[in-house]
C-alpha cells in the first residue's frame, strides 16, 4: 500500500475491486435501457459514451418521453465533471496534443482518482490501467443486462452500491495521508459542504461540478 503505484499493472490491480459493482450497475443499465432504446443501442452507448450516470440519465429522460435536447443536456451535465479532471491530468499525459486528447478519453471517476499521487501530480500509466477493469465491468454488464437482465438479483440487496463510496473514501484517505496540508483538508471540507448543499435540489451532475470549484482555494498564495 505504501509503494507508490506507477505501472499499467498497478492501475489494473487497484481498480479490480470495482469490477463486480460496475458489472452489477452495467447490468442494471442494460435492463433499464433495453426496452427504451433496444439492445444494440444500449450496448453501443456503453462502448462509445462509456459514462454510467450520463447514460442512465439520458435513458431516463427518453423513457419519460423527454426531448432529444433534454436527454443530451442531462447526460452532458453529468459528464462535465470530467473537464477539470482533464485539465488537471494533461501535463502528465504523453505526446502531441491529439495523442494526449486520445489518452484523456480514458478518464473515468475511478481511473482519475486512482492516478492522483496526493502531491498534485498524476500517474498516466495508473490512469490508463485503471480504466481497463472499468471498461470490462461496464460494457460486459450492459451486454449481460440487455440479454438476461431480469434474472439477476438487485445489486442493492448485496450491498454492492456501497462499494463505490467506500472505494472513493479509501482513495481520499490515502490522498489525505500523503498530503494532509491545511489547504487539502480545506478543499475536502468545502467540496463536501457544496455537494451536500446542492444535492437535494440541483439537477443531477451539478453538485459534483460545483464541488470541483473548491479547488479554487489553490489560487491563494
Amino acid at each position: 500500500m505504501h509503494t507508490t503505484p506507477r505501472t499499467y499493472r498497478d492501475g489494473i490491480r487497484l481498480a479490480l475491486p470495482l469490477v463486480l459493482p460496475t458489472l452489477a450497475i452495467g447490468i442494471s443499465f442494460g435492463v433499464l435501457a433495453e426496452p427504451v432504446i433496444g439492445a444494440t443501442a444500449a450496448t453501443v452507448s456503453s462502448i462509445v459514451v462509456f459514462a454510467g450516470s450520463a447514460q442512465v440519465a439520458a435513458v431516463t429522460v427518453l423513457e419519460g418521453g423527454g426531448a432529444i435536447a433534454a436527454a443530451v443536456v442531462a447526460g452532458l451535465l453529468l459528464n462535465l465533471r470530467f473537464m477539470p479532471m482533464s485539465f488537471a491530468i494533461t501535463p502528465n499525459l504523453r505526446g502531441s496534443r491529439w495523442r494526449r486528447a486520445a489518452e484523456a478519453q480514458l478518464i473515468v471517476d475511478a481511473s482519475f482518482a486512482l492516478s492522483a499521487d496526493g502531491q498534485g501530480g498524476f500517474n498516466r500509466e495508473v490512469m490508463i490501467g485503471g480504466w481497463v477493469p472499468q471498461a470490462v465491468g461496464w460494457i460486459g454488464g450492459t451486454v449481460i443486462g440487455v440479454l438476461v437482465g431480469g434474472i439477476i438479483p438487485e445489486p442493492a440487496t448485496l450491498g454492492l452500491d456501497a462499494i463505490f463510496p467506500a472505494f472513493f473514501l479509501s482513495i481520499l484517505v490515502g490522498e489525505a495521508r500523503a498530503n494532509s496540508s491545511e489547504r487539502v483538508l480545506q478543499a475536502i471540507a468545502l467540496a463536501t459542504v457544496i455537494t451536500l448543499a446542492l444535492l437535494p435540489w440541483a439537477p443531477p451532475g451539478v453538485p459534483i461540478i460545483a464541488a470541483s470549484a473548491a479547488a479554487l482555494l489553490g489560487l491563494r498564495r
Binding site: 462509445v48 482533464s86 494533461t90 496534443r97 486520445a102 443531477p204
Partner: protein, 103 residues
C-alpha cells in the same frame, strides 16, 4: 429509435470533447503557474464530492439517507484501522447489505 441514436451520437461527441478539453487547450505546454495550486486540489475536491454523491444521491435525483451510510461509516472505521482497500470495500458492502436486510 432514431431518437435514441441521435442522443447516443451527441453524447459520445460531447463527452469526448469534454474529456479532451485539457489536452486540446493546453497541448504539450505545462500548466500556467497560477493554475498549479488549483489543479493540485482538484483530485481531493472531486473525490470528496464522489464520496458524498455515491452515499447520499437518490435515483434519479435528490438526496436520501439509506443503508449506504452505515456501509460508509464501517468503511471509515476500517480505514482508521488501516485495513487494506479490498477489506474496507467488502466490509462496506456486507454492512450495507446487513442493515438493508434489517430495515
Amino acid at each position: 429509435m432514431t431518437q435514441a441514436w441521435i442522443v447516443i451520437g451527441l453524447l459520445a461527441v460531447g463527452t469526448a470533447a469534454i474529456k479532451g478539453a485539457g489536452p486540446l487547450v493546453l497541448g504539450d505546454r505545462p500548466l500556467p503557474q497560477r493554475a498549479v495550486g488549483v489543479v493540485a486540489l482538484i483530485a481531493p475536491a472531486v473525490v470528496s464530492a464522489l464520496v458524498i454523491y455515491e452515499t447520499f444521491a437518490d435515483s434519479p435525483d435528490g438526496i436520501v439517507v439509506d443503508a449506504r451510510v452505515a456501509g460508509l461509516a464501517a468503511a471509515g472505521l476500517a480505514l482508521l484501522a488501516r485495513l487494506p482497500m479490498i477489506v474496507v470495500i467488502v466490509i462496506a458492502a456486507a454492512v450495507t447489505a446487513g442493515v438493508r436486510a434489517l430495515l
